[in-house]
């Protein structure tokens, strides 16, 4: 019982279009009201643009586009989730634009059904619905 509890990880549950996504909480640095973003010409579609966060430049990605999500209800409180990817000198702050930050949930690794592609590594059934479990380290893969 204790071992099972220790094995669970905390995830931030996000809404993006018609999808739910679970993002490991340890990479989350801040959740803020959607930051204003300046689009960049020549960007791949998922890059909404650049924002300024705490005096630092922040590339902001559209989570719904990364998930190829369909349209969802109009977001009442859209957010930018600031995440830290990588470590040491190669660490990078990235913003994820999402429709809402819904909850913090605990998920045991055994509850995740491996599936998906891109940044999605699996699915998990939660009381809020089926969520796609994200591995953002894949964002840096070529």
């Amino acid at each position: 019982m204790v071992a099972a509890a220790e094995a669970t990880r905390r995830y931030l549950l996000l809404a993006a279009g018609d999808r739910l996504a679970a993002l490991e909480a340890r990479v989350v640095r801040r959740i803020v009201r959607a930051l204003p973003v300046t689009p960049l010409p020549g960007a791949r579609p998922a890059l909404l643009g650049l924002a300024e966060f705490a005096g630092e430049p922040l590339p902001v990605l559209d989570l719904a586009q990364l998930l190829a999500a369909g349209p969802g209800p109009p977001p009442a409180f859209p957010v930018t989730v600031v995440v830290r990817l990588g470590s040491g000198a190669s660490a990078e702050l990235v913003g994820l634009a999402a429709d809402a930050a819904l909850d913090l949930v605990s998920i045991a690794p055994g509850a995740v059904t491996p599936s998906g592609e891109g940044i999605v590594v699996g699915e998990v059934a939660l009381p809020q619905g089926t969520a796609e479990v994200l591995d953002l380290s894949r964002l840096a893969a070529p």
Binding site: P39, A51, E52, G86
Partner: protein, 98 residues
């Protein structure tokens, strides 16, 4: 990285910079143009030169989603900007983009 002397301009609502040493000429007027090497970067507004800029190397994620030559990212007056590398494609700044 801290560099000295960057030309700043605005194009398509975004802020851009080039190291001043790479700039050969700036043509002001209704349609400003920055000449750097053989490239001509169109601008909506030339903002001038800043002496110092704290340039952060581009991360892997940014490079993947904005795959063009750049020295990094910076912030000026609470606004994020891309510091272009000499050799960045001027076509990005042509009319009709983004």
């Amino acid at each position: 990285m801290r560099g000295r002397g960057f030309l700043l301009w605005r194009r398509f609502g975004a802020l851009w910079a080039l190291p001043a040493f790479a700039v050969q000429a700036v043509v002001k007027g209704a349609n400003p143009v920055i000449r750097a090497g053989e490239a001509e970067f169109f601008a909506d507004e030339i903002l001038g030169v800043v002496e110092e800029l704290a340039v952060q190397k581009p991360g892997k994620v940014f490079e993947r989603f904005w795959p063009h030559p750049c020295l990094g990212l910076a912030v000026v007056a609470s606004e994020a900007l891309v510091v272009l590398a000499p050799g960045a494609p001027a076509e990005l700044f042509a009319k009709g983009e983004p």
